[in-house]
Amino acid sequence: MDEWKPNPTIKPHKKRSWYLAWKYKLMNQRALRKLCQTGAVLFLLVTVIVNIKLILDTRRAAYEEEEESAQDYDDEMLNVEVPRHPVSNKKVLDVEVYSSRSKVYVAVDGTTVLEDEAREQGRGIHVIVLNQATGHVMAKRVFDTYSPHEDEAMVLFLNMVARGRILIFTIKDEGSFHLKDTAKNVLKSLGSQVAPFLSWRDMWTFVGKKGGEVYGEKHAKSPALSTWGDPVLLKTEVHLTSVEDAECHWPDTELNHRRKRFCSKVEGYGSVCSCKDPTPIEFNPDPLKDNKVFDVPVAVIAGNRPNYLYRMLRSLLSAQGVNPQMITVFIDGYYEEPMDVVELFGLSGIQHTPISIKNARVSQHYKASLTATFNLFPDAKFAVVLEEDLDISVDFFSFLSQSIHLLEEDESLYCISAWNDQGYEHTAEDPSLLYRVETMPGLGWVLRKSLYKDELEPKWPTPEKLWDWDMWMRMPEQRRGRECIIPDVSRSYHFGIVGLNMNGYFHEAYFKKHKFNTVPNVQLKNVESLRKDAYETEIHRLLGEAEVLDHSKNPCEDSFVPDTEGKVYVMFIRMEQEADFTTWTQLAKCLHIWDLDVRGNHKGLWRLFRKKNHFLVVGVPASPYSSKKPSSVTPIYMEPPAKEEGAAAAVPAVAAAEQT
């Protein structure tokens, strides 16, 4: 400020020069000021721009932050939106049905839902059930009514279908030969005009609603015995109803939600879907006291036989001591209907991509299922293995609970099985009795984890080997002299008639008359004597008290065994060495028990019942029990019929794989 003060001592003239200097200075300063001003303006502008940019940036950042807040957590799999079919409000379905000698097809709204032009199969009446509200296919069946009894199955099926469903019928090749009046009347009651007069090689198509209107029917008569009727094509329209009308009104519970989901998808399960008083899907059987198998996982091995699976799971869930949480159903393939059945019962199901073909496919499915079971239940020491075509006895878990400790403690045991290969109606008697056998029966059995993990899994047959898993397990390399525990009266029943190695004849001959325990809570009586050494003592005791039968008689005759009850008898057959089963096989044949390969033996000894007497068969001299034979007795020898030489080789191959 000092410089700004005018100096009082200064002269005016001097003052002017100072002013000039000042003015000059000022002018300079003005330039400076201008400069400053422009600078300031620029600076401010820049600040403004920067500010605006900053605001925008933070804004965007904040926005992105929100957007991305969960990005790390996004599922990396891009959920490809499945293009959903627009919910069609269409009330009418176009249905096309074709029937001819070599081909049938059914198309609903242009979609082929059935097409069968394969040669040599699919003969008979094809039936399709549609949901009357959605038009979805709920069931597809073919009944070969050219053959006997198939018409009965058809009647049974049609009776199970709920009222209001749409039924489509078409014949391929021939469908009238064994179509009896009962079946024809059922078809007539559905509204068919032609059914009562269907005859040899007629072609026929029919679309109708169960208990309601008929949408169309076409028929072509066969002109002569040697020719077929002309192909017929029926085109018709079906009017859909509302969803509410198509559903039952069950109380709103969790169980009924499952039921509803199931019943709107599939047909042919009878009363489970009936609107009035449907059959329960939860069973709550009595719990077992001191249940040792409550925490043992149960693997149900299944294929695409949903009706079988339904029957099997019903019996399994009704068995005392069952723990539904431990049950896993393994389905070989991506089939929907078996999965629907599993979900109906609220169980967990796992689908398995099929690997390989035929027997190898089954075997790979077994391996995957067993591995998965022990993965899902890492604590488990055992697993129960069941198949979809078994009925399970009410005391199945009780039987296992009483015997499972043996499998844990006795190293010489291979498995516990619920199935006695030789336990037929006429050869099994005592539900409380157990045996040790050298063969592995399967059909409901318990597997030790260590056996699977340490021995079986690493060398399980690879997919290119078309082996049966059960035959492989029976091989000496795997079994290594160990034995299985089985009950005298089986705790499972094999009801499957269709299967990979199964047919009606085979089932009738070997499985139908199998004994099956229906008594609950059977107290097993000789559990401790099943340990390796104790069992020998037990056998010697039995043989000691056994009465030797009259070896001069024919063992096939009923009179071979006296008409007594509760006695122990023994017979001796010839058995030159360990693998000589010539006489045994003949004996098994005439006794009508399992004769396709050797089952149920223990050191050359077989135990069964005849006329309610315990009946022991000892192979002499191969069996160590031969010493019990009185010297006077000559072992019975039975010669195989000579002509079967050639066939004999082929038969075991069939027998081999029956358990599928």
Partner: protein, 461 residues
């Protein structure tokens, strides 16, 4: 006039700039508070510090859970951290009423609980009740890793996480599954496309960024803040475990592709070797775990895990890595006690230590000790007959859990780099002839041991 105008303009501009500055400041503050306060900043504004909302939500949740008999336990790291400080007191007075809400009122966005899958049925009733109580809930399901093995199985997806939200607080329920190898596993939290991304601030969850592996905890029933709740018996141990619990799933899909290219050796020899290698690995893991020595799968064993999810049948030994800082003198006697005699010992603790133990039937267990440098990690090798030293260099890595032959073991998290360092870019191609001195791509010549040290650094039994 001009001057004044300019001044006015200047003043105006300054004003504008000031306004902007203020606005900026305000906006920044808003942004900051938004970032920290998350969704619940409003609540905090009303009740800073102490907040009983959280306590109420937790209490309601525990009520819901106990009404359905579902056993859960607390694994919230924040609360367990607080609990751990007073653990003695809490243990000694399990029923005492607490004067103040110390733990469950602590500020946080979530309270995390764990649930063991096998202890409950997946019932729908729980969620109905939860809704009635006012909870909003979210369920995160995904594939079941236990079925992800070598066979193509597809089961129903399993629940991995549940989030229950009430008012301003959320409960994160992590579902733990038991897996082969006797450990517990929880899955990653991944949202599917249709899910509500803003249901809760997912990033702040303590569990779910990665899958995790844990030991089965021992539980303790305690009463904290007047709520009865199960907690891990040793909270600090649990928190320590949590800090490095990250789990890597084996690459099953790639392994399947590998076996498509190079079919697996199914010969009896291979089966036998795998069996022996597996039992040797189990024995080694047991021994080292008992000593508290952290180890990981190294070399060929690691490659086998990474490439084919199995033991390489032609590898002939089992290789483990251990950080030299974890070295304990007891290792050798412990292995001898376990029935694995020392076969050779190369190097010394200060340099290139390597131990070999003789397993049954020629299967060898090699333990390599790793030395950490600033930018890399290395282990050493020694040629017995010449005393030559080798050095194998690896990029730095951390350790993750995985499951291998029914065992929970460590592998380097950065497995690919680790395997590539060791086996080069062609690690995907099986090689049957392998020379440990020249084949690895990370080997360096490292001089020769001085002859007078040979007795010490080259010991062969």
């Amino acid at each position: 006039m001009q001057k004044i105008n300019k001044n006015v303009v200047l003043a105006l501009l300054s004003l504008i700039s000031l306004v902007f500055l203020l606005f900026q400041l305000y906006y920044y503050r808003f942004y900051l508070s938004h970032k920290n306060g998350a969704v619940f900043s409003k609540v905090r504004g009303i009740q800073p510090g102490q907040d009983s909302t959280r306590w109420h939500v937790v209490r309601k949740f525990l009520g819901l859970i106990s009404s359905h008999n579902i056993p859960v336990y607390l694994i919230d790291p924040l609360i367990l951290g607080l609990v751990d400080k007073d653990i003695e007191q809490i243990r000694s007075s399990p029923d005492g009423p607490s004067p103040e809400c110390k733990y469950f009122c602590a500020p946080r966005d979530f309270t995390t609980f764990a649930l063991l899958d096998k202890t409950w049925k997946h019932e729908v009733g729980l969620f109905r009740t939860a809704e009635k109580m006012g909870f909003q809930w979210l369920k995160i399901i995904n594939k079941d890793p236990r079925l992800d093995g070598m066979d193509d199985l597809s089961g129903t997806e399993i629940p991995l996480h549940y989030i229950f939200k009430l008012a301003s607080h959320a409960i994160h329920l992590v579902v733990f599954y038991e897996r082969s190898g006797n450990y517990l596993w929880h899955g990653p939290l991944r949202l599917k496309q249709h899910m509500d991304r803003k249901f809760v601030p997912f990033r702040k969850l303590h569990f779910g960024r990665y899958p995790g592996a844990y030991e089965k905890p021992e539980l303790l029933l305690v009463s904290i803040d007047d709520l009865k709740v199960q907690i891990p018996k040793n909270p600090s141990g649990f928190l320590e475990e949590m800090s490095h619990s990250r789990f890597l799933e084996c690459r099953y899909r790639e392994a399947r592709a590998f076996f498509q290219l190079y079919p697996d050796d199914a010969s009896l020899d291979a089966v036998e070797f795998r069996k022996k290698a597996k039992s040797l690995l189990h024995l080694a893991a047991l021994t080292l775990n008992n000593l508290g020595v952290k180890f990981w799968l190294s070399s060929g064993t690691c490659l086998g895990w990474y490439r084919q999810c199995n033991v390489i049948p032609h590898s002939k030994d089992v290789d483990l890595g251990v950080f030299i800082r974890d070295y304990k003198a007891d290792i050798i006697p412990a292995f001898q006690k376990a029935g694995l005699p020392l076969k050779h010992k190369f190097g010394k603790v200060e340099d290139s230590l390597e131990l070999s133990f003789q397993g049954e039937d020629d299967v060898k267990l090699d333990i390599f000790f790793f030395y950490e440098e600033d930018d890399h990690i290395w282990n050493g090798g020694t040629q017995a007959k010449s005393g030559k030293k080798f050095k194998y260099l690896f990029p730095k890595f951390t350790l993750c859990w995985t499951e291998f032959v029914e065992l929970k073991v460590h592998v380097p998290c950065e497995t690919l780099q680790y395997v590539e360092a060791n086996y080069g870019p062609d690690w995907k191609v099986p090689v049957k002839t392998w020379d440990w001195k020249s084949s690895p791509s990370n080997v360096q010549y490292n001089g020769v041991w001085p002859v007078d040290e040979w007795d010490d650094v080259i010991q062969i039994y």
